[in-house]
């Protein structure tokens, strides 16, 4: 059956939670009702990246982008657009602060500055149909390596491409494969790391949900190169949709004989198994992950030996991140020269980032290495909402650091981010504005990492609690002279003495904010003030007598009845009662409540 129009309904996790399955069902119903069901096909896709606007439907081939759809919209949409050919403007995207809507995906800034390699199939295929993947060049790279390339050729190509691990470390993928290939021990294993423990990050989930076969094909190529016949995908239990799509994909690949024995009749054997992870952050560390697959307590172990020499069950093991794997088929198919033409001198290709925090367009973006932060935050992200001032961006999750606003023109790649005290990490970007307190933000990340420390090394276990204690004390208004120096000293000591990446990086958010926002720490400690007005112990609410008109609203809304005053008279806050909830400030229409 040939359809004239395909409706690409996002059924990624975020959109599903806003009801996109219902939208899909209603679309199918209404289309049938209008007798259009043999002209128009409704397709469920993985995450299309613009999650804040969900539920999302993209109309192809016209490229029209509908967003924030509700079930009531659907009958009208189907009749107007699909029966009568009149696209419905009010369901299109309008950038914040602007008045005119933008009809097509291609014209929306969030999309058109992106460059897709790992996410090239997002929104274009039904992740549960292997034929959709095949129609977009899928498994072509597999044919190429089985018919025209030796394992050495594959490794050369990956090395030449400059691909580096997308899971955080940025280690050159080709070199890692080569080490594992060189080992004479058999069997060998390969692993896909889909543990994705950074709070707020979801690029790996999204790749698996929207294009699971890209990961499978990447692993097939890696297995062929190093000589492995068994692979594992380690994925967290909290990702049920991704797990189910991956299960379906593996099943379909087996049916087609793309996994299993004698693949494509070329005498190559490889099969894949899913292992569900317990979810602790440290499980994403490679040695810990391997222990978890082996069924023993997931604690990191000393490296060397590296997994490439002695990994799963003591055998040579190659482990790569989801996004790393998803890049592999494209590199093979389009060539190392193509891939290495994108990016900077030492960082090639693209990187997927999850853009969250104080930013207008939250979502998932894939951009070429070397793009500036300004382009990501303003052109793609649409800037900071409500006219607030951009203050910085925390990159790399709890192991990363904050890049301050003054470095907005920094080109984003592995080296540049490390130089300024941050890191690529797995690609979490949290944008912060003037209302974010940097001391409080570091405290938040440290609370997370100290909680996730496996406790094996004293430096990491005790050091992180000691740092957390000092940070908490500072935010509670009891900071002392010398605290900053203590945090710095302890931070560097923890980095040096800890065994795995968790301990080695956990001081980063604190160290980078001390470096770039030292005055904020000083204000907390010396002046007992929180410049961003976040730390409750350091702020007071007052009513400005010149502005207050005595409307009584604040007095009525205050949850602890801390405000008194007669109608039409200036109101007063009783500081001993006030719990600093900020409600009075929000409800006062006359801007009379101030924070100090």
């Amino acid at each position: 059956m040939a359809y004239r129009t395909h409706l690409m309904v996002c059924t990624g996790t975020a959109c599903v939670s806003c009801g996109s399955f219902k939208i899909k069902e209603l679309l199918e119903e209404e289309i049938k009702k209008q007798g259009l069901d043999d002209e128009i096909l409704v397709v469920g896709t993985g995450c299309q990246g613009f999650c804040a606007q969900g539920p999302i439907v993209v109309v192809q081939p016209d490229d029209i982008f509908y967003q924030l759809l509700s079930p009531e919209d659907i009958p009208y949409l189907v009749e107007e657009h699909f029966l009568k050919g009149r696209p419905v403007k009010k369901m299109m995207y309008t950038p914040p602060g602007e008045k005119t809507h933008i009809p097509t995906v291609n014209e929306i800034g969030f999309f058109n500055k992106q460059r897709l390699i790992a996410l090239r199939n997002k929104g274009l295929i039904d992740a549960e149909k292997i034929d959709d993947y095949i129609g977009r060049d899928g498994y072509n790279a597999l044919i190429k390596i089985l018919t025209a390339m030796t394992p050495e050729d594959i490794i050369n190509e990956i090395q030449k491409s400059g691909l580096r691990g997308r899971g955080g470390g940025g280690f050159p993928t080709g070199i890692k494969w080569e080490i594992c290939k060189k080992s004479e021990e058999f069997p060998k294993y390969i692993i896909c790391n889909a543990d994705e423990g950074d709070p707020g990050a979801y690029m790996d989930r999204s790749i698996v949900e929207s294009d699971p076969h890209a990961v499978i094909e990447g692993m097939l190529i890696g297995a062929r190169a190093i000589g492995a016949e068994q692979g594992y995908v380690y994925i967290r239990t909290e990702y049920p949709l991704a797990i189910s799509r991956l299960e379906i994909a593996i099943e379909q690949a087996r049916e087609y004989g793309l996994l299993g024995e004698d693949i494509l009749g070329k005498g190559f054997n490889f099969d894949l198994e899913i292992k569900q992870g317990a979810g602790a952050f440290v499980c994403g560390e490679e040695t810990s992950l391997i222990h978890s697959i082996e069924g023993i307590s997931p604690e990191p172990s000393q490296r060397p030996p590296f997994p490439a020499e002695s990994g799963l069950w003591g055998q040579p093991t190659n482990i790569n991140n989801v996004e790393t794997w998803a890049n592999v088929p494209r590199i093979i198919l389009r060539g190392a020269d193509w891939f290495s033409s994108i990016g900077t001198e030492k960082s090639k290709g693209t990187k997927v980032f999850s853009l969250v925090g104080k930013i207008n367009n939250t979502g998932l973006v894939e951009v070429p290495m070397g793009i500036t932060l300004r382009e990501i935050i303003y052109d793609i992200g649409g800037g900071v909402p409500n006219g607030k001032k951009f203050k910085g961006v925390q990159i790399g999750g709890p192991s990363g650091g904050v890049v301050p606003a003054s470095l907005i023109d920094l080109p984003v790649d592995y080296e540049k981010l490390t130089e300024v005290g941050s890191m690529m990490g797995s690609g979490g970007m949290v944008v912060v504005d003037e209302d974010t307190c940097m001391v409080d933000l570091s405290r938040y990340f440290l609370e997370f990492t100290s909680d996730e420390s496996c406790g094996k090394c004293t430096s990491c276990r005790e050091g992180s609690s000691a740092m957390l204690e000092v940070l908490t004390r500072i935010t509670e208004g009891h900071g002392k002279e010398g605290d900053i120096e203590f945090l710095e000293e302890l931070g560097y000591a923890i980095k040096d003495a800890s065994q795995c990446g968790l301990g080695q990086t956990l001081p980063n958010p604190v160290l980078s904010t001390i470096k770039n926002f030292r005055h904020e720490y000083e204000a907390h400690i010396k002046d007992k003030k929180c410049p961003a007005h976040v730390c409750k112990a350091l702020i007071d609410f007052h009513i400005d007598a010149d502005k207050c008109v005595g409307c009584t609203v604040c007095a009525i809304k205050c949850p602890v009845k801390a405000i008194s005053g007669n109608r039409k008279e200036v109101h007063i806050i009783d500081q001993s009662e006030c719990i600093k909830c900020g409600i009075c400030k929000t409800v006062c229409k006359f801007d009379a409540v101030t924070v100090e």
Partner: protein
């Protein structure tokens, strides 16, 4: 489903290629059927159904059929616009099933405008 060899895989790819191209918006010819109220009343749906059928029969996977609203010329409905890649769009009016088949064969497949049915060359733009 039996295990595939390389040829089988290429066969599948050929079969699903059209859907993939359509989703990417890649085409060499775009046919727009005007679906205003009077267009539908005058039989635009028949034109649409016929087109979908003949495009499929032709085996061409680079032709897109789409719709637009009222063309503002009720008396000449049903109407369709044909736009070959890199060429000026041509509007055809007073269509019937037979006419659209002829237009498809001559204009879309062979690149010859069917002047006797053509209403106007070019599509009006906002000033």
């Amino acid at each position: 489903m039996p295990k595939l060899n390389i040829q089988d895989l290429e066969e599948i790819r050929k079969k699903v290629r059209k859907a993939a191209l359509l989703r990417e918006g890649i085409s060499n010819a775009k046919i727009t059927v005007h679906m205003g109220t009077c267009g539908i009343a005058a039989g635009a749906r028949t034109i649409m159904n016929t087109l979908i059928k003949i495009v499929e029969e032709s085996g061409r996977d680079d032709v897109i059929v789409t719709t637009s609203g009222c063309a503002g010329f009720c008396s000449r409905e049903p109407m369709a616009t044909i736009e070959l890649k890199g060429e000026t769009p041509v509007k055809y009016s007073d269509l019937t099933k037979e006419k659209i088949i002829k237009i498809f064969e001559e204009h879309v497949l062979n690149g010859k405008i069917v002047e006797e049915y053509a209403l106007a060359l070019g599509s009006e733009r906002e000033p």
